[in-house]
Amino acid sequence: MNEKPLALLPELFLLGGAIGGLLLGVFLPRRRQYIVRIVAALALTGSVVTALLGARNLDGEVFSGAYNVDMGTSIARVVAATAALLLLAIASTELSGHPRETELYTLLLLGTLGTVLLAGADDLLFLVAAYLLASIPLYGLAALAKDGSGTESALKYYLMGAFFGIVLFTGTVVLYGVGRSTRYSDLVGSLAAAPRGAVALGGIGVLAGLLFKLGAVPAHFWVPDVAEGATTTVAAFVTTVPKVGAVLAIYRLIDVPLSHAPGNWRLIVAILAAATMTLGNLAAFFQDSVRRLLGYSTISQAGYLLMVPVVAGRNDLALPSLALYVSAYAVTNAGAFAVVAAARTGPKLADWRGMSRRSPALSLALLVCLLGLVGTPPTGVFVGKLTVFTAVAQGGYGWLVVVAAVNTVASLFYYLRWLAPVFRAPEDKGAAVSFSWSTRAAVTVAALSVAVGLGAGVVIAAVSG
């Protein structure tokens, strides 16, 4: 028994923040719930800091091999918590003073915790538990506003989640059945000799559950609906944070238990990646709703993320590239949603016409974020994409890189469909968007997305050790 509670300090910060915030919030007047936000921010900061400190000296497997504090987990800890921190900025403008603001922060922290645990899961049972923790709070969050579209999105999100949860159980049970254990370290050996059909069913089941968290094909259906229906903060959260844990969990799944198992799992993931990015892009093409467009865009981004597990463990660049991409993606996507939150404009693309006159700063931030999502240098996503492409090409999946490159070009089209009206002359002189705190936050996040690119060397060096 190697229980090292201090090894889980970042997770404890999140849990503590959630519980503490909840308890505190119960006694706070509605307008002063920002105190909970501060608590949450402190918890997240503490989590990031301790995670960064912990990354210097990784503890490895803790709690009888259920949880693995390795580089992958550290990435998830830092990125998920940082992204959540950025999203607090959106929340602060959108939902300040909301009657359920305290619950929002509590659930945000719990969801983040679930994501981090998902990434570190080294045991199928633990994975199931983490899946639960990473999902449940988000269902609640989606319906936070309790309006028609919010609850509808929550319903769909929940029902999809429940379905894929059962698929995940199925996979877990079958893998347990043929592998005689739920621990990854045991499964590496036992699955290698296990019957092919059973491993196929089990592997697909577990993978499917994680694909749901990632928002990838064929479990992507909830993404656009939630992106449109939920509040901006929540939409940003569910399309950003869970992906971090999910992709790292898939990475680990391919890298460890399925590495020697029968079946060409890397190819399966490659196909899924290609399908996901292509479908996301195509569906986004002629989308008129800004939020749905962003939703589909996150699907396509999930496809790019999914490229890395294809070469999990195959070369030295795989994990660093994933770290870079996932952090850049998280920041950039959060930035795009932050702009949407700050702009306070209609839901359609056409409503953005003339935004460059109304708020040049916001338009610039949007430009940086959207072009960043495309992968235009020197933003972080560019470097991320580049390193991902390189790692995947090095791993012998050149065709996947070509597909991804073509998709990247295609994606440009719909991002430009959004940008074009922004920089067009307005039909009528809409009210100028004041250079408010939320604008400042959006601009900061956009700048951060460029900073990730410029400071990519630091990230890679840190991850490579």
Binding site: I136, G140, G150, Y158, G161, G165, T170, Y176, R292
Partner: protein
Amino acid sequence: MSIELFLLIAAGLFSVGLFGALSQQSIVMLMMGLELMANGVLLAGGAFWRLVSPGSPDGQVLLIVVLVVMAVEMAMGFAVTSAIFRARDVDLTDMATDLKG
């Protein structure tokens, strides 16, 4: 006791549940379908424990986890259903199709 028998029954339960999940309009009925699927999984888990690796309690833990998770998910399902019913008087999935495209 052959494992194939139990697994076949589990597969049957799973498939019946899947049918329900796919075909039921009512959210609650749909959730019953999901429960049936989980029921099959539960049975398969029990069979695997006993007939493959009874030596370790992992299988038992697995069953507990499945059971608990199932319950939690159902609880959450009721909550979500309540919320949407309150918000827009919806109890059928076909009535919640505003978000699409």
